[in-house]
């Protein structure tokens, strides 16, 4: 196919437009000012199709118009960084041996609130495409989820639907879902969060760019036929019938087709005929073609009449903006198209040439011989950016003036402990991750249930560790610390396996940036993330932003989620969370006084969300270095990050994982019992080691300047933790069933 020779950058039928109404502008998510700006940049009034394209490209989702200035604050440089944030569909880091890891996390919150199963499933589908677009083979998925309370029917429907959707897509693709997190709070009731992270592996020289360059090279659209999926506000889309309202429909995923796409694309890349590869995500063909052209420095011409479609009567507007899933745009060397198409058809995939790279740096859209849109690429990829006024939220005055003296200390520590263990935020996550195939690929050395997952890298002695973390409550109470601790915790989880954290990805789930208080939270959290990333030496190589997370006028807790990647050079020198041997000693490494501020305990037992969470980055760095050094010296039998629920819960989790009890009855405190047992200060790790290793561990801690407290021993069939005394199996059964029953509506 060629572009009709007659086109000259002038539009057919572009003469008389009336100014769009406010409602029409709202449909394409543009302000009146943005409309004026678009008119100025174009030198004429945009037509309706162009307006839709500009609106899509200038949306927060594609253009990051509200967050771009803030994202610049995140450190992105590092020796190992091969592809940094914002350059391609995902970031890439070197892991040695000529190999690179490609990774990214992305949200699918709003679609999941509408249709939880398909919303979550297509979220997984989208992040997978971002990874294999780079030529990498996806090797692991993680999912970070936030739900509303499970004691109402709708909450369970959303939670089970979301988990089911993640499971369906990942399982069918054969990519193991090896980690993630789940947290429940009423702020997520109407707006659950679904963040999916994918990690892929590739040889450096095979990294593929999503670039459309080389005038005359051809654009192939491969995969699913295009339907009206996910098109928003196309009410005036149909040029013929401006009244027709072709509302978009909810996207339904097809992991089977995506599996074929994955294999076909990786095979196609071997043929040396691919110039660039780009998945179709938000705004579909529009952003994928425009962004590829933007990277290539030229333009693209799209012939919409060549697009295979699933529905009748689709307009050029709909074809350009459809978000039908499981589609890829391949930029093929001119003349090599048939070679590529034969690869696709062998995999049972339909493909069409739908356009070509042109030298004029424009997006030209043609429908047969009608020229329907012509917009400079430059103006599309450079969305206007905004910063908003920030205002410290007033609630902070109240939450920060919290005093623990208002709360009575625990009366029955064992009962409180069991209640904590069974609470849905602490109970075992197995009811969720057992629905995920976490073993396919035969690389999973440490499966979900530990701190970070560990995957071997076949053909080397190495392993990679991956984890996601984020704490909405902490961020709500102290946004800077919330951002910083998401980084610290993700990295700490990595360190507990022995791996060195080397890079991060992040997903920023916040409320409306137009609210000065929400913008304050966003800005502070990013500053916190930046500070922690710098301190821990972990550059941010990719990420995603999801704003306007609110329902019924209430914003969610600000929830930055961090995905971390670590590298372990010698797989044999790894550590896991379970206590291993009766008689081993148990100690906690790290920071001093545990505090109740912002703890799960305060929330579960006293229904209080208050206090000022704290984090000292230098302590965190020293702690993580120490634990890696101890693991590498093979001094530790277990290491487990002390997080939600504090020390008592961390000890219990290590005991359950090891199937052996704890003898720490002599543990006592000068302070409050609840603080000692359930207080949650950052920067603590529970470790165990043979008694012979005790002096070496203590000495290393002293050298590192990291506090070291011996707690007791591994052994027996009870959990004896200070005043807590309960049979291991009883405690374990509460912990095992807590979330299971809640999800089943039997809590």
């Amino acid at each position: 196919m060629g572009i009709s020779p007659g086109w000259d950058g002038r539009l057919t039928n572009n003469s008389e437009h009336s100014l769009p109404t406010d409602a029409e502008l709202r449909e394409v998510a543009l302000t009146r000012d943005e409309y004026k700006r678009a008119t100025d940049l174009l030198g004429r009034q945009p037509n309706q199709i162009e307006l839709g394209i500009i609106g899509g490209m200038w949306s927060e989702h594609c253009g990051y118009k509200h967050s771009r200035p803030l994202l610049k604050r995140l450190p992105g440089d590092g020796d190992q960084v091969l592809i940094g944030a914002g350059e391609e569909n995902a970031g890439a880091v070197d892991i040695g041996d000529g190999l690179a890891i490609v990774m990214k996390i992305e949200s699918h919150n709003h679609p999941s609130a509408v249709e939880p199963f398909q919303g979550a499933a297509t979220g997984v589908g989208g992040i997978l495409r971002d990874i294999f677009t780079m030529g990498a083979r996806p090797i692991a998925l993680l999912d970070s989820l936030r739900f509303g309370p499970l004691d109402d029917q709708r909450g369970r429907y959303l939670a089970n639907g979301i988990v089911g959707g993640v499971a369906w897509y990942g399982n069918c693709m054969g990519i193991p879902t090896v980690g993630g997190e789940v947290s429940i709070n009423k702020c997520y009731r109407g707006n659950p969060l679904v963040n999916a992270m994918c990690v892929g592996i590739i040889e450096h020289e095979k990294l593929t760019s999503a670039t459309a360059k080389g005038s005359g090279n051809q654009l192939i659209l491969v995969g699913a036929d295009t339907g009206r999926d996910g098109i928003h506000g196309a009410t005036f889309a149909s040029v013929d019938d401006p009244e027709a309202s072709h509302r978009g429909v909810v996207q339904v995923g097809n992991p089977f087709m995506e599996k074929l796409l994955l294999e076909a694309c990786l095979e196609a890349l071997q043929t040396n005929t691919v110039v660039g590869l780009q998945d179709l995500g938000a705004t579909g063909l529009t952003s994928s073609s425009v962004e590829s052209a933007g990277r290539g420095g030229g333009g693209v011409a799209i012939q919409v009449d060549k697009i295979a479609r699933r529905a009748d009567g689709m307009s050029p507007y709909e074809l350009m903006l459809s978000e039908s899933q499981e589609r890829m745009l391949v930029v093929a060397k001119r003349g090599d198209v048939s070679k590529l198409q034969s690869v696709f058809s062998r995999w049972g995939l339909h493909s069409d040439v739908i356009g070509e790279v042109i030298s004029t740096p424009n997006l030209e859209v043609l429908d047969g011989d009608i020229h329907v849109a012509s917009i400079p690429i430059d103006m599309l990829v450079n969305a206007p950016t905004y910063s908003f006024p920030v205002e410290r939220p007033r609630y902070l005055d109240e939450t920060s003036s919290f005093s623990k003296d208002l709360i009575p200390d625990v009366v029955d520590p064992t009962a409180t402990f069991l209640k904590m263990l069974a609470s849905p935020n602490i109970a075992s996550r197995q009811p969720i991750y057992q629905q995920y195939d976490h073993m396919v690929g035969t690389n999973t050395i440490i499966a979900p249930g530990g701190d970070a997952a560990l995957l071997r890298v076949k053909g080397t002695e190495k392993a990679i560790a991956v984890a996601t973390d984020g704490n909405g409550r902490t961020t709500f109470l102290e946004p800077f610390v919330g951002g910083a601790s998401a980084v610290a915790e993700a990295a700490r989880n990595i360190s507990c396996t022995g791996a060195v954290p080397i890079a991060l990805t992040n997903c920023l789930n916040f409320g409306s940036p137009e609210q000065p208080t929400a913008y304050y939270q966003l800005s502070q959290a990013i500053d916190g993330m930046a500070a922690a990333s710098t301190a821990l030496g972990t550059p941010v190589i990719s990420g995603n932003v999801s704003l306007y997370n609110e329902s019924d006028g209430e914003s969610i807790w600000p929830t930055p989620i961090v995905g971390a990647l670590g590298i372990l050079n010698n797989l044999e020198k790894r550590c896991q969370i379970g206590f291993a041997c009766s008689g081993d000693e148990i100690a906690v490494l790290g920071a001093g006084t545990p505090e109740l501020d912002g703890s799960e305990y305060l929330s579960v037992i006293h229904d209080v969300v208050a206090g000022i969470p704290k984090l000292v980055l230098s302590d965190e760095l020293a702690l993580q270095r120490l634990v890696r050094e101890l693991i590498s010296a093979q001094l530790l039998a277990s290491a487990h990050d002390c997080a939600d629920g504090g020390l008592a819960i961390a000890l219990a989790e290590s005991a359950f994982a090891g199937g052996v009890g704890v003898r720490a009855e002599s543990l006592h405190t000068k302070h409050r019992i609840d603080e000692m047992l359930f207080g949650e200060s950052q920067s603590r790790i529970v470790v165990s080691y043979s008694s012979g290793a005790g002096p070496a561990v203590a000495a290393a801690a002293a050298t590192a300047g990291v506090p070291f407290f011996q707690l007791g021993n591994v052994g027996g069939d009870r959990l004896l933790i200070g005043p807590i005394d309960v049979a291991l199996t009883d405690a374990e059964s509460d912990w095992t069933n807590g979330l299971r029953l809640a999800l089943a509506g039997n809590a």
Binding site: N171, L260, Q435, D437, M439
Partner: protein
């Protein structure tokens, strides 16, 4: 020995299976595409790997069972040569009529990925011959439809002919209902054909063939077939 790992659209344990056969056991193992009409020459062993062939749409294994390669697999089986279907491969063998019965969704109606124990019930198949009688193996499962059903007569026949090769049990080897992860009849985890050379099993031996993955019990299954070949 030559092994063929059949690749259907949507197979996703094909690479894991090939890796075990080739890299761990040193077998000359190759992929065979579902659209082919024949196996490689002198193929000794055919493995139908796990995954979601054709997305598991309509019924698990249904569309794959009708692929062109299945005629060759059928012939291979008719010669008495070993065929192993793992997970989705088992489902395909059922749909192809190479093994009796059918698969329903797990009673939980959820996908389950976890470690289970199975007891070896018959040593008279190519995939259990070197096991100890009643040996208990620890292997992972990962499936949404492993709830094996067969009519009353069919079940009696399987029992009478000792064609139930593996049953789900506790770690101690007891086939209690608690040990059954999916509701399958009689705790069936794997069965064989009347000629005993075609075996289908839900657990994944290829995921339990290395110590670092948590178990090497799957090796006994591969070693049985090697042993039978006199390799």
């Amino acid at each position: 020995m030559k092994a063929a790992v059949v690749v259907f659209p949507g197979s996703n344990c094909d690479a894991d299976t090939l890796y075990v056969l080739k890299n761990l056991l040193g077998i000359d193992a190759r992929y065979v595409w579902h659209g082919e009409n024949c196996l490689h020459e002198n193929t000794d062993l055919v493995v139908l790997p796990g995954g979601f062939s054709h997305g598991d749409y309509l019924r698990t294994g249904a569309m794959a069972a009708r692929a062109p390669i299945m005629t060759a697999v059928r012939n291979h089986a008719a010669y008495g040569k070993p065929v192993l279907g793992i997970c989705n491969g088992f489902q395909i063998l059922l749909e192809a009529g190479l093994l009796p019965g059918a698969m329903l969704p797990n009673t939980s109606t959820q996908f389950r990925c976890e470690w289970v124990h199975i007891r070896v019930e018959s040593l008279e198949t190519p995939f259990s011959s070197t096991c100890r009688p009643e040996q208990v193996l620890r292997l992972p499962i990962a499936h949404g439809e492993g709830n094996y059903v067969i009519d009353h007569d069919g079940l009696s026949e399987l029992q009478d002919q000792e064609r139930i090769v593996y049953r789900y049990t506790t770690a101690e080897g007891i086939d209690s209902p608690d040990a059954n992860p999916n509701g399958s009849m009689d705790n069936i985890a794997g069965i064989c054909s009347s000629d005993r050379n075609v075996v289908g099993m839900m657990p994944h031996p290829e995921r339990a063939s290395e110590e670092s993955l948590g178990s090497q019990d799957g090796l006994t299954i591969w070693e049985s077939v090697l042993d039978g070949m006199g390799d």
